[in-house]
């Protein structure tokens, strides 16, 4: 049936994905190329990469699909304004020109952009559109290792839907029910994100991290005033407290009055109140998701659950669902946000539009460890190092990982760059900053000197899969850092000599990545070398970037991150660069320590 190009764009975190029949050939987010975090612009560079990787031209792509339906979204917009009129005039006056000038014409804009990429691509060719939540559902079910599953999608909002439930059975994906805008668990969480002074649709994970420092003292207030939760986990929001339907902000002044504080301004001190608020909304969201999934398990009596949508990136909630819902197996799409919509839209074309047959590998998923982005040869890396005039040490493969392990054991922080980049928000050992988790101080060092980010933010361990269950409850099940697990480091079976306090959050949990030899051989080899040297089978693994910057993609991104932070070593495609050995002239390059 040929090639299918899926595109997500114009809203948040644009991306492209190329399928050849049911096989994922390549996928990438535009932000990795443009270097603009959560870049929403048309993913020109991501598309070019996908085509280059497959060695085809755009004209050879058989189907192009966009991940949502703009007309349906515009319909929602119009109806919302009518419903709330005369409120929302200001918002209306700001939004309409954008829609009438640009967003309503997305099909034409896509055709034009594709024609720019390849003039042989005719503008008159058909572009397909799929529902936003159908794209999420397809991204959750089709690459999963399940032949049958309940599929839950949950995010801020797509066209109308904010939550959907579908049943996946082989190639069939059937919508069963949905909750529509403005009732949205994702927007409720985002409203608190806004109230706590973080960026909406970007910093929700910070609220999740902050939640562990507080207590959910406002939980009942939220239930009493903001949300009405039914027995089956469905919900209605009290819109008196929110402003996102018609205003230019997420919360209404009644919201401030209810909690007795104004919204925190960005950069203001985080008070115990803010921590308690984060804890409260985290707890409420968790309880609703448990209720919802328990009800789905009872209703459909299917053992497998697939999840996607932005809320699925809340790994604490995922773990709570796994523990309490009743489902025996849960699979979460690693690119659960809108970028994954490009993948889901492409899958949807193959299975729904083209009636493709589905062969399921029940042992493993079809995501290829989510390493779907570009890779770079050593020659290309050397060329980039020459641009920055950096000396490097070329190391034989068998010695390479032993040297990196020795650096780690010596307390050094490593920028590690190997193979294809990750698709989705998590660094999984291809574009990672690595450090020794045995050192409890490492969290503070990394936050302050390397990531330049808030001190409350945790770091995650990447652990050899064969040791994962020894260190963490159900640790070995986590390939994509999508669940948090309880750290068993205080148990008798884990000697103190190899405990990993640097990778455990303040609440005694960690967002574990279990590294399997067959799925991720290079990264497994690296951690094995560290284990052989120290007896510790884990390393701290965090994304190779600094705060508010997208994860590194190409060698120059990694080099800049290395030079602009206090990272000690750059380990990049078999080459080692030790900052201490760099000559003074090299350290004086523009951009260093700026």
């Amino acid at each position: 049936m040929g090639y299918i190009l899926g595109i997500s764009a114009y809203y948040h975190d644009s991306a492209a994905c190329l399928l050849k029949d049911a096989e994922i050939i390549a996928a990438a987010q535009e932000e990795r190329f443009s270097r603009i975090k959560n870049d929403e612009s048309f993913p020109t560079e991501a598309i070019k990469f996908c085509l280059k990787f497959a060695n085809i031209s755009l004209a050879e792509v058989d189907h192009v699909v966009f991940y949502e339906k703009p007309f349906l979204k515009f319909e929602r917009l119009l109806e919302t304004y009518v419903h709330f009129a005369p409120r929302g005039l200001k918002s209306f006056l700001k939004a309409m020109p954008i829609w009438l000038k640009d967003k309503l014409f997305i099909k034409k804009n896509i055709a034009k952009a594709l024609h720019c990429i390849d003039p042989n691509w005719e503008k008159s060719r058909t572009i397909l559109f799929t529902d936003h939540h159908h794209a999420h559902a397809a991204s959750a079910f089709y690459p999963s290792p399940f032949d049958e599953a309940v599929v839950l999608t949950i995010d801020g909002v797509g066209e109308w839907a904010t939550t959907t439930v579908s049943i996946g059975n082989m190639a069939q994906l059937t919508l069963k029910k949905e909750i529509n805008f403005p009732n949205s668990l994702g927007l409720l969480y985002s409203a608190f994100t806004y109230y706590l002074g973080f960026e909406v649709n970007s910093d929700e994970y910070k609220v999740m991290g902050l939640a562990s420092y507080g207590t959910p003292v406002y939980k009942q207030l939220i239930y009493d005033h903001l949300i009405d939760v039914k027995a089956d986990g469905s919900f209605l929001l009290n819109m008196d407290y929110f402003d996102y339907c018609t205003g230019l902000k997420m919360t209404h002044k009644k919201f401030d009055k209810l909690f007795g504080h104004p919204a925190r301004a960005k950069g203001d001190e985080l008070l115990p109140f803010h921590k308690d608020m984060a804890s409260s909304i985290q707890k409420v969201t968790e309880e609703i998701m448990i209720k919802l999934t328990q009800s789905l398990y009872r209703e459909f009596a299917i053992d497998n659950l697939c999840i996607a949508g932005g809320v699925a990136l809340n790994c604490i909630i995922n773990s709570a669902i796994r523990q309490h819902s009743g489902f025996k197996q849960i699979w979460v799409q690693p690119a659960a946000g809108d970028a994954g919509g490009a993948l889901g839209a492409a899958y949807s074309v193959y299975y729904t539009h083209l009636s493709g047959l589905r062969n399921v590998d029940l042992q493993t998923d079809a995501m290829k460890q989510s390493l779907l982005g570009p890779s770079y040869t050593q020659k290309e890396v050397i060329a980039a190092l020459h641009v920055y005039n950096l000396n490097y040490e070329k190391v034989a493969h068998d010695v390479y990982y032993r040297k990196i392990a020795a650096y780690l054991a010596d307390g050094k922080v490593i920028a590690y760059f190997k193979g294809r980049t990750e698709f989705g928000p998590r660094a999984l050992g291809s574009r990672s900053i690595l450090a020794d988790p045995r050192n409890a101080e490492m969290k503070a060092i990394l936050n302050a000197k390397i990531k330049f980010r808030e001190s409350f933010r945790p770091f995650a361990p990447a652990i050899l899969a064969e040791f994962a269950d020894l260190y963490f409850s159900k640790g070995s099940k986590n390939r994509y850092m999508l669940f948090t697990e309880n750290y068993l480091g205080n148990a008798d079976k884990v000697p103190d000599t190899v405990s990993i306090p640097g990778a455990v959050h303040v609440d005694g949990t960690a967002r574990v990545q279990a590294v399997n030899k067959s799925h991720h051989p290079d990264f497994h080899q690296l951690i094995t070398a560290f284990y052989n040297l120290t007896g510790c089978p884990a390393v701290i693994n965090t994304s190779l970037n600094v705060m508010n910057e997208p994860m590194a993609s190409g060698p120059e991104d990694a080099i800049r991150c290395f030079l602009n932070t206090e990272i000690d070593i750059l380990a990049i495609e078999g080459l080692l660069i030790d900052k201490k050995r760099l000559a003074f002239e090299e350290l004086s390059l523009p951009g260093y320590y700026q």
């Binding site: 119009l78 918002s91 939004a95 014409f105 805008f181 996102y244």
Partner: protein, 49 residues
């Protein structure tokens, strides 16, 4: 123009006839607004897009 006609067909298919007059008014207003603004920048409104 094709897109606008397509949108009218879309509303018809969805049986949202009552949105027709609203859309026409919006369209006229939109033309004025676009002409007045020259260029448009996306404001921070989460749900609109």
């Amino acid at each position: 123009m094709d897109t606008l006609i397509e949108f009218f067909h879309f509303l018809t298919q969805r049986k949202k006839y009552w949105l027709w007059p609203l859309f026409i008014i919006l369209l006229l207003l939109g033309i004025v607004l676009v002409a007045a603004h020259g260029s448009v920048l996306a404001p921070f409104i989460y749900s609109l897009f």
